[in-house]
């Protein structure tokens, strides 16, 4: 049963919509999306995450929500809340798949159709910020999400990169994608920047350093900040724990927190 709800209705009480993009895979889009959402909630905001990565939805695991049954109400799919206060809502395309190990082997047109319906059919209710986690690249999913969200509003995109040139190269192409599709770039985040050895405190730049900031300068974009490569963060993601609760004193959390504050200010200013 498909809901004929129109998009402006399902997103009408959503203040800001932010896409999390990267041309490169595995740079931490889903991690950053999750952590930004947690940090924003920490700051008292109502946050939603829309996960449109059909082939590899990671957010359900990162937020430890398992595989809930999703329900429909009159105004569409009801998102899954991670807390009793309903301050963090998640809708993942993964929830609609039957078997978590089954490969979704779909060609573009089919993905476009599903995403179109999916984006317009979630009953988000009141949200301060909706973050949209995307798969890597600039293809069907991205165009479909944009086409549909734009009917309502898209504040802009946050681009995630790791410091090495192989990654910033892909993000340069993503910047062109944003320009061509008319999406404002809210800023660039450098993830996995520097690793501090837990044994001797030596900092190794495993994926080099500074590439994100350089790219921001080169392209005239805002640099939102750098998040270190932190094994505690990847372990936290694996277990679906709230890093902001478990390691509130870590420099990794303070980096994420300050990025979320900057982002929030720029959203409120616009």
């Amino acid at each position: 049963q498909i809901n004929n709800n129109n998009i402006s209705e399902s997103l009408s009480q959503v203040q800001h919509v932010v896409l999390v993009l990267s041309g490169k895979g595995g740079v931490g889009k889903s991690t950053i999306t999750t952590e930004l959402a947690l940090a924003l909630r920490h700051a008292g905001k109502k946050v939603g995450i829309l996960d449109v990565d059909l082939c590899g939805p990671s957010i359900p695991r990162m937020l430890n929500v398992g595989r809930p049954d999703v329900h429909q109400c009159d105004s569409g799919w009801v998102p899954v809340y991670t807390d009793a206060q309903k301050s963090l809502a998640l809708m993942s395309i993964g929830f609609l798949l039957d078997d978590p190990d089954e490969a979704v082997v779909w060609r573009g047109p089919k993905k476009t159709a599903l995403i179109g319906q999916f984006v317009s059919d979630v009953a988000w209710g009141e949200l301060d910020v909706l973050l949209v986690d995307t798969p890597p690249g600039t293809s069907d999913e991205h165009l479909a999400v944009l086409e549909n969200l734009k009917k309502h509003r898209v504040d802009g995109a946050v681009l995630v990169t790791t410091p090495q040139a192989v990654s910033t190269g892909d993000v340069r192409r993503e910047i062109t994608f944003c320009k061509k599709t008319g999406v404002r770039i809210l800023g660039i985040i450098e993830n996995m920047s520097g690793f501090v050895c837990p044994h001797c405190s030596e900092c190794s730049n495993i994926f080099s350093k500074g590439g994100g900031e350089e790219l921001a300068k080169l392209t005239g974009s805002v640099f939102l900040g750098a998040v270190p490569l932190d094994p505690l963060l990847s372990a936290s993601m694996e277990e679906g724990k709230d890093f902001s609760q478990t390691f509130p004193e870590s420099s990794t959390f303070s980096a994420i927190n300050s990025i979320s504050q900057t982002l929030l200010c720029s959203l409120q200013a616009s």
Partner: protein
């Protein structure tokens, strides 16, 4: 199955799908009758042409992973370098990552362009016996974005296989984008009239990555693509100062080892996280040649040896069978 015409209605199910001519989006499409008749389900003639073209390629290896950023391109590049270190072998590396081609940079070929020759596009050569082809060679600037939907990407992959002048090859290594989508379906389908040795699956140790890789393995099984084995990349980081190992991407569910045991697949090796590998990639040089005495180099070479053995055993098996 590059079967969605460019002028198709928005939700065209594809001219060769079961739903062709029957789905609701087909209504009003001028080709609805044609599709519904089943006539369009005939195989794409390109498949036979590609079979013909690649009949001079002895071994074909696909490098796959469901997860992004696990090191497919890095591995593909090093596999190609290692195979080509035997000067008597002809090796080619094809990059079918249409939206995020990183092979040109990793192979030190950024800014190179393909040339048109009498018999098609000629690939770019790193060495006399190592050819490379990527959409990156067709772009005019590093900022150029390829914002293509599936059908257009499929067309490009078809051209790479059919219209590139590969010549006689011992090995064709194909690097793919993450996921299980158009690019993957297309490459498997276009190669369906040739013999593909199999796929090498790359993963990192943590569950967030393995959960996607399991899907990729299902995909291989679905399309009957043999799996040569699994490589675990970024497994443990050795601090250059104190030599202690840290698990940056912790194998919370037993890593690739456990997955391979569960799914009865060979684990080809575990490549450590070494910052020098990332640097070599950025600079477009072969890590194997730059740091020949590192543990990571030895592990790469062992993995390549297993792949070579797999390929040659496979050939003898086939000869025996016929």
């Amino acid at each position: 199955m590059a079967d969605v015409p460019t002028d198709a209605p928005e939700h065209c199910p594809g001219t060769q799908s079961e739903q062709a001519g029957k789905s609701s989006s087909c209504e009003g499409c001028p080709n609805q009758k044609l599709c519904a008749s089943g006539a369009t389900k005939a195989a794409d003639p390109a498949i036979a042409e590609i079979g013909e073209k690649l009949s001079t390629v002895k071994h074909k290896i696909l490098v796959l992973s469901g997860k992004g950023g696990v090191g497919k391109s890095t591995f593909s590049a090093h596999l190609a370098h290692a195979l080509a270190s035997d000067a008597t072998k002809e090796v080619a590396l094809l990059d079918v990552d249409i939206c995020g081609p990183s092979i040109p940079r990793i192979m030190g070929l950024e800014g190179e362009q393909v040339h048109q020759s009498g018999s098609g596009w000629s690939p770019v050569y790193v060495d006399d016996n190592l050819a490379v082809m990527s959409i990156g060679f067709l772009l005019s600037s590093p900022d150029d974005a390829v914002i293509w939907r599936g059908p257009k990407k499929n067309g490009m992959i078809k051209q790479f296989l059919r219209d590139v002048d590969w010549g006689e090859l011992d090995y064709l290594v194909v690097d793919t984008p993450p996921g299980t989508s158009d690019e993957h379906l297309s490459i498997v389908q276009y190669l369906s009239s040739t013999h593909v040795d199999g796929a090498v699956i790359i993963t990192t140790p943590q569950e967030v990555s393995l959960q996607d890789v399991r899907k990729e393995i299902r995909f291989c099984q679905k399309v009957k693509l043999p799996i040569i084995g699994v490589v675990e990349n970024m497994s443990g980081f050795v601090c250059p100062k104190c030599q202690n190992t840290s698990q940056i991407f912790p194998p919370t569910t037993g890593g690739a080892e456990q997955m391979c045991a569960d799914l009865n697949l060979p684990l080809l090796g575990k490549v450590p996280l070494d910052p020098r590998i990332a640097r070599s990639c950025d600079e477009g040089r072969s890590f194997l040649a730059e740091v020949p005495d590192s543990p990571a180099t030895q592990i790469y070479l062992d993995i390549v040896k297993s792949i070579q053995d797999y390929c040659s055993n496979h050939v003898t098996d086939e000869h025996k069978a016929t």
